[in-house]
């Protein structure tokens, strides 16, 4: 892969207007697949959740999963969309072994939901209204593993292995209209939009919404045009962007790459590009124009979906509060200042903090752990904090242990690393590893006396009111006890000893 030339980001924005468009695929968490009764489950042995329908054997007949339709309607309604009174499935024909049928059953000109809008707040606090063009139902494809070749990716592979467990899993694809005017904030807006979609589908429990498992995937369209030009520039579609951080990085990269080409007078090729997290770059996939003829036609094996008004209203009545209302409510409940709350929202931590507070933590303690130490750990692992393997209940337990004085902050941070390593709940880790703060006076006094033996003047200093002298002894005791001493108690004991 030749290294692309990139233009400085600020310079690119001076010269060009950025237009983005986002396609988000949401995998629904129904029990079964879209058109057959096979289990919809991640992580099973390959080709064990398959049947004649989802591996496309001749003569098999699909039937639409009612729950998947209901979930799609929920998503449509929560995005402010109209629900189509009549919608058909279509065959999207293509030759690629990720589906055994040689077509994907999708919706084409009659999506189940259309014309919605979503207000999305970016980290600066600015709010953009994103117009939703449509949300349609389709099926996911199987998983290909490319074997051999120089990179382990598709290029140069000798053969591919196909697992159809995911083939036929219900998907909702949400497509935005072109988004103008985000300027330098386009990358942040793209990530904030996907975060909000995740929040929405999770709040309705229609998807597990785990990006690392591909439950939510984003294709980012980016094009540039000179300021003041009416005509849209040629766009590229970057696929394979499966974390919020990558979305932001990929959009930014495309802006800089395209700007460098346009500035040199080179036309942008309309194509699919792949995002490489490790290289922090996109690379050219297949040109779009050639593959765009999918010969859509109505799926003859399925009858139209015609949700009645009564059914739609019934579903509407079950919707949870919309994300904007929820944000207002929880901020008031938790008493967070605007800036504190914005940090929480931007980190996508509303669910986590709500769960932690529900499990008994004080809101400020929940916020402190999630936006502090946990965010820091996630950052060092190049992960999204929401993807850490820790529950709100565990964080609440940790905060509880600190509040009860069983562990101090330093020990709590240590406990966290073991909890994240899968050693059990914070209380279990504290017990198993003996990480509890030592506030047993006997042990503390012994350590203090050992420290005083080396610094005999300290007690005099304290008697004379120079409390800062106590620090040296507290530090020595902490060091001797590997951080597990209850510092407050050490201080108290020192004062007692000085005043004896």
């Amino acid at each position: 892969m030749a290294k692309d030339e990139l233009m400085n980001y600020e310079k690119a924005l001076e010269q060009f207007e950025v237009v983005i468009g986002l396609e988000v695929h949401v995998e629904l968490n129904t029990n079964t697949k879209m058109f057959c009764g096979c289990r919809n489950e991640f992580g099973n042995e390959p080709n064990t959740n398959v049947c004649p329908i989802c591996i496309g054997l001749p003569g098999s007949l699909p039937a639409v999963n009612k729950k998947a339709v209901e979930s799609s309607i929920k998503i449509g309604l929560q995005l402010g969309c109209e629900i189509a009174p009549n919608g058909r499935f279509a065959r999207k024909n293509y030759f690629y072994p990720d589906l055994a049928k040689n077509f994907q059953t999708s919706q084409f000109d009659e999506p189940i939901a259309f014309e919605g809008a979503l207000d999305v707040e970016v980290p600066s606090g600015k709010v953009f209204t994103i117009q939703i063009e449509r949300a349609h139902m389709e099926e996911d494809a199987g998983k290909l593993t490319h074997v051999g070749g120089s990179t382990g990716r598709i290029q140069g592979a000798e053969y591919s292995l196909v697992d159809y467990n995911r083939a036929g899993v219900p998907l909702v694809e949400i497509v935005t209209k072109p988004v103008y005017g985000a300027g330098a904030e386009a990358p942040e807006l793209a990530a904030a939009y996907v975060r909000l979609i995740r929040e929405i589908v999770k709040s309705m429990n229609v998807s597990d919404a785990r990006m690392e498992r591909g439950n939510v995937r984003c294709d980012a369209n980016v094009s540039l045009r000179p300021h003041g030009q009416e005509k849209l520039g040629t766009r590229t579609e970057t696929k394979n962007v499966n974390s919020l951080r990558s979305i932001e990085r990929a959009v930014r990269y495309e802006i800089q790459r395209q700007a460098a080409l346009l500035a040199k007078g080179v036309a942008i090729t309309q194509e699919t590009r792949h995002w490489h997290e490790d290289k922090g770059a996109t690379s050219s996939g297949r040109p779009k124009s050639d593959a765009d003829d999918y010969r859509y036609f109505p799926e003859p094996d399925l009858v139209p979906v015609q949700p009645s008004k009564a059914w739609i209203e019934e579903i509407r009545a079950t919707l949870p509060e919309n994300p904007a209302d929820r944000r207002k409510r929880v901020q008031a409940e938790w008493g967070f200042a605007d800036l504190e709350f914005r940090d929480v929202v931007n980190a996508g931590l509303l669910d986590q903090i709500e769960e932690t507070v529900k499990a008994g933590a004080k809101p400020q303690a929940a916020r402190k752990w999630w936006t502090g130490e946990l965010a820091r750990i996630a950052n060092t692992q190049d992960q999204d904090v929401t993807d850490l393997e820790i529950s709100g209940a565990y964080v609440a337990e940790l905060a509880g242990l600190v509040e009860a004085g069983k562990i101090n902050d330093r020990l709590a941070r240590e406990v966290l690393t073991f909890v994240l390593a899968g050693e059990g709940s914070p209380a279990q880790v504290v017990a198993a590893r003996g990480l509890e703060v030592v506030s047993d006076d006997g042990a503390l006094i012994a350590a203090i006396e050992a420290a005083l033996a080396k610094q005999p003047d300290v007690l005099d200093a304290i008697r004379e009111g120079r409390m800062q002298a106590a620090g040296a002894v507290i530090g020595a005791v902490m060091q001797a006890m590997k951080g597990s001493a209850d510092a407050g108690r050490v201080r108290e004991l020192l004062i007692e000893m000085a005043n004896k």
Binding site: N31, A63, F95, H146, Y159, S160, L161, Y164, P304
Partner: protein
């Protein structure tokens, strides 16, 4: 007459991974032309104001409840595969090195 050329037949055969010889290319071109021409006759029969029909019988909302049914075993699933490995279908690599 429609436009199913021998080259188009070869292209389709290649996409579908079907081996065809030159006699078959000519044969299939003729047959496909006949099929496409026959279907094209419908253009003369209807005007633009007739909505496209995907089903002859007006039916809607045939749903399946979200209930798990037995799947095939891995052996059954792979039993018709031309090639398999590690419990998966083995297929030719699709794209060449770029």
């Amino acid at each position: 007459m429609s436009e199913i050329t021998p080259d188009l037949v070869r292209h389709l055969a290649n996409l579908a991974r079907i081996d065809v010889n030159e006699n078959e290319v000519a044969l299939f071109a003729d047959q496909l032309n006949l099929i496409v021409d026959s279907v094209a006759a419908i253009k003369d029969a209807v005007a633009g104001d007739v909505p496209a029909t995907s089903h002859p019988i007006a039916m809607a909302n045939v749903f399946r409840e979200d209930v798990i049914e037995p799947s095939l075993t891995q052996e059954q699933a792979l039993s018709g595969a031309a090639d398999s490995a590690d419990g998966r279908f083995r297929v030719h690599a699709i794209l060449d090195e770029e």
